[in-house]
C-alpha cells in the first residue's frame, strides 16, 4: 500500500512524515511528494497544512494541477484522504485568515477566527485538550472519548452540515476538531504530535 503525504511547501511537515513512518514501519510505503502521477496512483493521501489558510491555499494552487488531482482523488474516486490542521480547514468553501480566501469547497462551511471573548481565551489555542467524540468515525477506532490531543490554531472550521462533525473540543465554544464525510477525514488537532494516542489515529487511517 502507498500513502502519500502531499508536500506542497506548506511549512514544516517533518513531524507528519516522522509519525507516519513510525506507524507504517515496513508494511506501508510512505511517499512525500507533490508529483501528480504518484498522488493519483496512491491508495491514501494525507494533506498537512501549517501557517495561514491563505498561504496554504496559495501554495496548493502554485503547483499546477495539484488541486484538480486531489479533487479527482477524493471527490471523484472517493479514495481516503486525511487533512491535518489547515489541511482540514481547506476543505471549507472559504477562509477568513488574513483575507477572504476560497478553499477547496469539499465540505461546505467557513473557517473563522476563534472568538476569544475579549481576551478571556488566549490565541493561538495551544496545548492538549480533550476531544468529545460526537459520532463513530473510522479513525477513532479504539480511541476513548475525552482523549487528549495536541492543538495549535487560532481559526476554526464551521461546517454547514453538522453531520460531518466527528469530534469537538471545548475552547471558548465547542470547536469542531474532527470531521468525516464519506472518504474524507480531517483533524484540527495534530495526531502526529499527540503521543501514542495520536499515532493510533494515524494507524487507523493507514489501516482503513
Amino acid at each position: 500500500m502507498n500513502v502519500t503525504i502531499v508536500d506542497y511547501n506548506s511549512g514544516n511537515i517533518s513531524s507528519v512524515i516522522n509519525s507516519f513512518k513510525e506507524v507504517a514501519k515496513d508494511k506501508v510505503n510512505i511517499e512525500v511528494t507533490s508529483d501528480l502521477s504518484k498522488i493519483k496512483s496512491s491508495d491514501k493521501v494525507v494533506l498537512p497544512g501549517q501557517g495561514s489558510f491563505k498561504s496554504c491555499v496559495d501554495a496548493l494552487n502554485k503547483i499546477n494541477g495539484l488541486v484538480d488531482t486531489l479533487s479527482e482523488f477524493a471527490i471523484n474516486n472517493k479514495k481516503p484522504l486525511l487533512g491535518i490542521c489547515v489541511g482540514l480547514q481547506m476543505f471549507a468553501d472559504v477562509g477568513f485568515e488574513e483575507i477572504e480566501t476560497k478553499g477547496l469547497g469539499w465540505i461546505s462551511g467557513k473557517v473563522s477566527k476563534i472568538d476569544n471573548q475579549n481576551g478571556k481565551y488566549k490565541l493561538p489555542h495551544i496545548g492538549w485538550n480533550e476531544i468529545n467524540i460526537t459520532k463513530d468515525s473510522k479513525i477513532f477506532k479504539d480511541i476513548e472519548n475525552k482523549s487528549h490531543m495536541y492543538f495549535v490554531h487560532s481559526y476554526e472550521f464551521i461546517p454547514e452540515d453538522k453531520n460531518v462533525v466527528s469530534a469537538t473540543t471545548d475552547y471558548s465554544s465547542n470547536i469542531v476538531c474532527s470531521v468525516e464525510k464519506e472518504n474524507i477525514f480531517g483533524t484540527q488537532f495534530h495526531p502526529e504530535k499527540s503521543d501514542k494516542i495520536g499515532l493510533k489515529i494515524i494507524d487507523n487511517f493507514i489501516n482503513l
Binding site: S14, N18, P124, G127, L199
Partner: protein
C-alpha cells in the same frame, strides 16, 4: 478544557546533555535523545532543548540531535539557543523541531520574528524573554543573560506579540538557577498584557512553584529543568500534584 502544560527543558552542549536525569537504567546519560524519550514517555506535554553550544564549529550538533529526537518523540519539540536567522529556523524545522525559540536575535532584529512567523506560521515561533528586575521594572537581557539591553520587558512582550510570536517563554534571570520559585509578578504582568500563551521559566525548586506559576502567574505552561533532572521529581508526580491542586493537566 485546555490543559496547562509541563515542559521539561534539557540543556544541550555540543550535542550532549549538560545537566541530565540520573537514571540508572540509562545507557548513555548524556544522550539528549534518550532523555527526551524518557520525558515524553513519562507524560511531558512538550520537550524543550536549549542549545548552549558556545563554539560555532559545533553548532551543527544540535541539528543531528533534533533530527534523531523527532523520530522517537511524538510530542511537540521546541528548540532554542543560538537561533539567529530565518535560515536557522528553517533548518531546525526541517530537522523536525515543531517550534523554535528566539532570544537575542528577536531583540537585536525584531524583523526575524516578523519574517519567520509570516513564513512558517506563528504557531512555531516562540520568543524567549530573559528579564531581570531593575527598580520597579524588568529589563531584557540577551546573550544568555550576559548583556543588559535596557529594554523594558513588558513593552517588549507586547511588541513581540504584535510581531507575530505565537508564544512567549519568559525567564526571570534573578530566579534562574536559584530554585526559589518563578518571579510571579513578572509572569502575571506579561500574561495579562498579551493575548498569546506565556510559558513561565526560571527558578523552580519544588512542585508548589509550578502551581504558583499557573495559579498566580497565569502562565499557560510551566518550564523546568533541574527538578526533573536529578530524579527529584518525575513529570508524572508533577502532574499528579498539579491535579490535586485543581489545575487541569493531561494525565
Amino acid at each position: 478544557m485546555l490543559k496547562n502544560r509541563i515542559i521539561p527543558c534539557l540543556d544541550v552542549k555540543n550535542g550532549r546533555v549538560v545537566k541530565g536525569i540520573n537514571f540508572v537504567d540509562l545507557q548513555d546519560a548524556g544522550d539528549p535523545v534518550e532523555q527526551a524519550k524518557i520525558y515524553s514517555d513519562g507524560g511531558a506535554d512538550e520537550i524543550c532543548f536549549l542549545d548552549i553550544t558556545a563554539s560555532n564549529e559545533n553548532r551543527d550538533t544540535i541539528y543531528n540531535v533534533v533530527e534523531k529526537t523527532s523520530k522517537k518523540c511524538f510530542v511537540p519539540l521546541t528548540v532554542g539557543g543560538g537561533v539567529r536567522s530565518v535560515e536557522d529556523i528553517n533548518k531546525l524545522l526541517n530537522c523536525g523541531a515543531d517550534k523554535v525559540s528566539i532570544n537575542t536575535a528577536a531583540v537585536q532584529n525584531p524583523e526575524v520574528v516578523v519574517e519567520s512567523s509570516k513564513k512558517f506560521g506563528s504557531q512555531c515561533i516562540v520568543v524567549a524573554i530573559d528579564a531581570k528586575k531593575n527598580g520597579d521594572k524588568w529589563e531584557i537581557f540577551t546573550h544568555g543573560g550576559r548583556n543588559n539591553t535596557g529594554t523594558d520587558a513588558i513593552e517588549f512582550a507586547k511588541k513581540m506579540e504584535n510581531s507575530g510570536a505565537g508564544e512567549l517563554l519568559v525567564t526571570s534571570m534573578d530566579r534562574d538557577g536559584t530554585q526559589v520559585g518563578y518571579d510571579i509578578d513578572l509572569m502575571s504582568k506579561i500574561s495579562s498584557i498579551v493575548n498569546i500563551p506565556v510559558i513561565a521559566s526560571g527558578g523552580v525548586g519544588n512542585l508548589d512553584h509550578l502551581v504558583d506559576g499557573i495559579k498566580l502567574g497565569n502562565a499557560s505552561a510551566v518550564l523546568a529543568a533541574s527538578i526533573f533532572h536529578y530524579g527529584k521529581h518525575s513529570v508524572k508526580e508533577a502532574k499528579e500534584y498539579l491535579d490535586s491542586k485543581g489545575i487541569p493537566v493531561r494525565i
